[in-house]
């Protein structure tokens, strides 16, 4: 089976976020960006399915040239090859523009399964998978906590607020995964070395047959007016335990100061 797994290069969520006051956009420093941790679950799911059934995993992303880094990480985990959709005309794309670009890259691959994370760690809308399923005309099975394939049927445990549903569809289909699908593997040294030699195809919008007015800033229907910090990351007190019991007294003093004890 062939699986296309969508990944995104995002600012490292463990670092403080910075907003450019002039452009009101998130400062995206490629050196401080990583594969979206949520996408590693999608890569892991794809790898496990291909290990079981045979086939190929293709990582797909849209972004500037630096987004290659996210694809290399997916290939270091075990993906076979990758597609980078990159074009200056794609800058400022909204969800629909992004979905159009990814769909144009994925369609010729004719995958059995497209796997996405439920939502990205940065923009956090969770809209892309639905738009992609719509454009590719695939049934979508969302919020997966487990994914299995038998013959031409994909079965998903779909997490809900009250438990989970077991849902099925005939392949090809699109699945979105949650962190419950299983811990993503850490790339081995061999994997990291191999990833350097694996092929990445770079596609611009002309090669994908996309018209400029349907993507990027001109194609966007939603406009971001403003972005602002919710609150500063706290500057809390950090005490290193030295085994004398002093740190425990310090916690107690702190708990008294907030009147919990």
């Amino acid at each position: 089976m062939k699986i296309c797994v969508c990944v995104k290069h995002v600012p490292d969520p463990n670092l403080p976020v910075q907003v450019d006051p002039a452009t009101r956009r998130l400062i995206r420093d490629p050196k401080q960006s990583i594969i979206d941790p949520a996408d590693e679950y999608g890569v892991e799911t794809a790898l496990r399915l291909v290990e079981e059934h045979g086939g190929e995993v293709v990582a797909v992303t849209m972004g500037p040239p630096a987004a290659e880094d996210a694809l290399r990480r997916a290939m270091a985990m075990g993906a076979d090859r990758a597609i980078l959709v990159s074009d200056e005309a794609l800058a400022g794309s909204d969800v629909l523009g992004t979905a159009r670009a990814l769909a144009a890259a994925i369609r010729p691959e004719q995958p059995d399964l497209v796997i996405c994370a439920t939502e990205s760690t940065d923009a956090y809308t969770g809209l892309l998978p639905g738009a992609l399923a719509g454009l590719l005309d695939l049934p979508q099975l969302t919020f997966a906590r487990a994914v299995s394939v038998e013959g031409s049927t994909v079965t998903v445990q779909r997490a809900t607020e009250t438990g989970y549903q077991v849902i099925q569809a005939t392949l090809p289909a699109l699945v979105t995964v949650t962190a419950s699908v299983g811990e993503p593997r850490y790339p081995s040294f061999k994997g990291l070395m191999a990833a350097k030699r694996k092929p990445i195809e770079v596609r611009d919008i002309a090669e994908l047959g996309l018209e400029q007015h349907t993507v990027g800033e001109p194609g966007a229907r939603e406009r971001v007016l403003e972005i602002s910090a919710v609150r500063q990351v706290k500057q809390g007190r950090i005490v290193v335990d030295d085994g004398t019991g002093e740190s425990v007294e310090e916690i107690l003093a702190f708990l008294r100061s907030i009147q919990v004890v």
């Binding site: 569809a169 919710v230 706290k234 005490v239």
Partner: protein, 331 residues
């Protein structure tokens, strides 16, 4: 009855409205008033007549009731068909859905079908003459964005749960309750539900407890959670856990805090062996005070903490429990 302006989609489960769906009335009633039109509620499910009455008491002027055994289970394509039927009947400008797993699947599907704008996971919705302006949290709630969608076309909006208050019910309001017949197509069956599995229910006061003691993967085993339980007992706190811990089966799912678990905002959150993955921190970010015991000074939760002890929890937690018992007279 005047022109329908706002439709709220009331999601039901086992004949009862989901709490997040009732909050839509808090968001939708003021919008309908501003627009000078009716607030219409779609109640979709099976055996949902009581919910229809409640929708009227909460502020709907008109309630469309799609009461059909086919809607007993939350199947996205079928509920989408019910919403489409309601849209044809009421023709509202704004459509509000809850940001539940069902709502988050429904809204993009419908927005795609109608080529309409979709404002996601909103915490504020404001009307301007030419546009709807909405605020939503992004980047694991670290930032807020304000987005604008032009009016004149239908707009789909999902409301974040907890952002809008459920209005006080007003019994005896004038309301029109109408049945809505939905015809399903074959395409609505592309995804089929073969089974429903309920989470084990259990007793916990996690969401209301002023002190919550949370154990993460660093606790190491189900047996070691005894340390967390004893600490919680010594400080009169409730026990919580991370997703990794409930996935490993060390603790029941109903104690899980975070994206796929519960949201807590206690006076004191005390994290033991919790690294602070974003999937967890979205569920505890609103805590008044965060205290952390962890080996790793670079753990994300240490950076969020008001007070962090870097060290071995197996050393520190028993000592802290003992001292708490002493000072609180529970020794």
């Amino acid at each position: 009855m005047s022109q329908a302006r706002v439709l709220v989609v009331v999601e039901t489960v086992a004949g009862e409205a989901r709490p997040a769906a009732l909050e839509l009335f808090g968001a939708g009633r003021p919008l309908a008033d501003r627009l000078g039109g009716d607030l219409v509620a779609l109640v979709a499910g099976s055996g949902v007549q009581a919910v229809a009455g409640l929708a009227g008491e909460l502020g709907a002027d008109r309630v469309l009731v799609a009461d059909d055994p086919a809607l007993a289970e939350p199947v996205v394509a079928r509920v989408a068909r019910a919403v489409e039927t309601a849209l044809a009947a009421a023709d509202p400008e704004l459509v509000l859905l809850p940001a539940t797993t069902l709502g988050r699947d429904l809204a993009p599907l419908l927005a795609g079908r109608f080529r309409a704008a979709h404002l996601v996971n909103c915490t504020r919705i404001e009307l301007e003459d030419q546009a709807v302006v909405a605020t939503r949290p992004v980047y694991q709630d670290k930032l807020l964005t304000t987005v604008r969608a032009p009016r004149g076309r239908r707009i789909f909006i999902t409301a974040r749960s907890g952002a809008f208050p459920v209005p006080e019910p007003q019994p005896g309001r004038q309301v029109s309750i109408e049945p809505l017949a939905v015809s399903f197509t074959e395409a609505d069956q592309a995804v089929t539900v073969t089974r429903l599995v309920e989470k084990p229910k259990g007793q916990t006061n996690l969401e209301s407890a002023p002190v919550v003691v949370v154990g993460g993967r660093g606790v190491g085993s189900a047996e070691n959670f005894r340390l967390v339980e004893e600490l919680a007992a010594a400080i009169d706190g409730a026990v919580g856990c991370t997703r990794a811990v409930s996935d490993l089966g060390w603790r029941p799912h109903y104690e899980q805090i975070g994206q796929t678990g519960k949201n807590v905002r206690p006076k004191l959150y005390l994290g033991v062996g919790v690294s602070g993955a974003v999937q967890h921190t979205v569920g505890m970010r609103g805590s008044d005070t965060i205290v952390v015991i962890n080996r790793d000074p670079n753990a994300p939760l240490v950076k969020m903490a008001d007070f962090a002890i870097i060290g071995d929890l197996f050393d520190i937690v028993p000592r802290l429990t003992k001292r708490l018992r002493e000072v609180r007279g529970k020794a």
